[in-house]
Symmetry: C3
Subunit: 133 residues, 3 copies
């Protein structure tokens, strides 16, 4: 199965990057037309989801609430000190499968793809696969 | 890729609708037999998951706990006032991919598809796609 | 669509089992090469996600934080007494779709598949399907 890799550079410990333009560039390379786009985050302290891309405060509110629910210093056992990032990544999930039409992500009016960094700044990768219908 | 759209009308701010019958009607229209059903919620303040459909208290408990974890008034920045709904939708996720056998959702004994409304009442859409194995 | 079933026996109320070896055995039976592996949990008080498989403390921290966010005794309405397990399962999700290359799960360096038991000990099943690219 052909796939493309997106290189993502994060700059904060917790950050949301909107991936729609990068994913659509990858879909063009994969000669995608109509089907589904499988996005995979190969990391254990970052995740993928979909939500509003218009007002950046939505992503900020999401990150702030996750910090409240899963604080960085929470008496965790994992010795590397980034247990909170693992927990947030497990809750958000490592993957999302998005409809594709005419080579573009067929998202709802306000939707964009969120790359959720929880232990940055780091260089990250996202894998893009296309499933023809 | 052919798909069908379900029209869903919610009546509460927070509400779970069980989609199994509607999805199976859509699968019949798509002439689905054996494979996978990709369900997509094109909204940013609603989501999709799968859980128990037998006792409606399970869905009520889920919604009540989400309200506790992500209260409606939580000092958010998003100016539209529905930040909590965006956060819950990001946690639940916009999509679920369910096995299909003989044109029916091949769910476990107690499972049903949850459409999770977090900012209703609204008219909503769910997209149904079928992937033949 | 051919699929394989994994039998899983849990031994605690809350527990994470790492499924990578079992899933790869199932993929071999399905003669999988390159594509995607769809994993399905047909239960409503257990879920599937992907996170670090190297240090078992990561999974312990996840379970402990989920217990904190969704306590077993939380004044729920569901009469069977396991509402917390349903809520955790809905948050983690019932399914994950993982890349496959040369018949193996093409996971990131630290990733493994988490079977998340929230109402054990029980005999559980996980369904494995392979989508050829």
């Amino acid at each position: 199965m052909k796939h493309s890799r997106l290189a993502v550079q994060t700059s904060e410990r917790s950050e949301v990057l909107l991936l729609r333009p990068l994913v659509e560039k990858a879909l063009a390379e994969l000669e995608a037309d109509h089907g589904l786009c499988h996005l995979w985050c190969p990391h254990t302290t970052a995740g993928l989801t979909v939500n509003e891309g218009d007002d950046p405060d939505v992503a900020r509110d999401l990150l702030a609430r996750l910090d409240h629910l899963v604080p960085w210093n929470g008496g965790y056992r994992h010795a590397e000190g980034n247990a909170a990032a693992h927990i947030k990544a497990a809750l958000v999930g490592p993957s999302v499968t998005v409809p594709v039409a005419a080579g573009r992500l067929a998202l709802g009016r306000w939707q964009d793809v969120y790359f959720c960094e929880f232990d940055g700044p780091r260089r990250r990768t996202v894998e893009v696969r296309f499933l023809r219908a």
